[in-house]
Subunit: 213 residues, 2 copies
């Protein structure tokens, strides 16, 4: 499969690397085709790693991943040619965090980044996933021992099945499908607790689990 990954930060780097490791061809998209961090990633990624602009990554990928900073995701996605996006699955991994310490959310409660993207790009099948844990855990859930959960939501069942299959390839055993994309409100609102726990524990190696009988 060909993936387009938007973003060159820690999350984009981890996901792009994880996808290459699974045998996929991946293009990391950035503001410029010769972005320094993208080039550094390509050196590590080898022949299956490609770099380009956001637009080139959008055209390249059969499935797209939004790993840009959440506060800027809509600005980035709005610049893309709709023809290159139509009908594709877009996995939205970003959280709309502000610059507070700990950060708060720039969109929340009555809306979410996932919903905003779906509204902005109605022809894209947005699936919110992977936004509730650290990026190394996203591609290697076994880093945290024991059972823990990945939440996903989105309006298109077929798109969610594709994303669940990818999550299983990464090693996720427990995937909780919350329903339509409005549930992104709920998962993005886990970030305030996640960030506080991260500061408190001094490590991002933890995750949420829903315990039931």
């Amino acid at each position: 499969m060909k993936y387009g990954v938007f973003g060159t930060g820690m999350v984009g780097d981890a996901l792009a690397s994880g996808l290459v490791k699974l045998g996929n061809e991946v293009m990391m998209g950035a503001r410029t085709a010769e972005h320094e961090k993208a080039r550094a990633w390509k050196e590590r990624a080898g022949t299956k790693g490609h770099i380009g602009t956001f637009q080139e990554a959008a055209r390249y990928g059969e499935v797209l991943l939004n790993c840009t900073q959440g506060a800027f995701s809509l600005d980035v996605l709005r610049t893309l040619d709709r023809k290159d996006l139509a009908g594709k699955v877009l996995i939205d991994i970003a959280n709309p965090l502000d610059n507070g310490m700990p950060p708060g959310l720039t969109i929340c409660n009555t809306d979410s980044l996932g919903e905003s993207i779906q509204r902005e790009l109605p022809d894209v099948k947005v699936v919110k996933a992977l936004n509730t844990c650290n990026c190394q855990l996203m591609i290697d859930p076994g880093r945290v021992k024991g059972e823990h959960d990945m939440f996903i939501c989105g309006n298109d069942e077929g798109a969610k099945e594709k994303v669940k299959a990818l999550l299983r390839e990464f090693g996720w055993k427990s995937i909780i499908d919350l329903g339509d994309i409005t549930n992104a409100r709920a998962t993005e609102q886990l970030l305030p607790l996640w960030l506080r726990l991260y500061i408190m524990y001094g490590t991002p190696d933890f995750n949420f689990k829903i315990v039931r009988n």
Copy 2:
């Protein structure tokens, strides 16, 4: 110990009953001294159960519990005589939910109900706790098998130690102290996910756990 419980709904009823069961004297406070639900509770509670107005419960309790509907909690607490509150521990169990389906929050992200109450009543030691699970689970965490967590936060260490001791009496084994009362933002923001899971599972018998190595 003498407790004052504000609120006659499911949460107030469960907590007041749980406290009586532990051998405490409890006054359930309501808008009126002869509130129908409070009277019904008193009949079940026996000789250790007392009822009165919010003001009478505030005076009676050495430790107070806010189990009113979150959207109205500040209105209720503002009516109370500050002399009867000064220096007391107030466990804030309420969530500021609106009337949406699923409900959203009326305060969130940059503020929380817990913080609002602490600002309104600076002489009270507000401890946010028990607001992230169902009321039957609050007083009987063993209803959900396996390990799961209770989050607490507040500005006064002594007050939190008192509340932790009470939580342990109820059977809580894993209590995560997040720090000061601003962390109420994080725990109140768990409600959107909790409410969606409740609708999805059709039972409130589940809880959050943080899984770590």
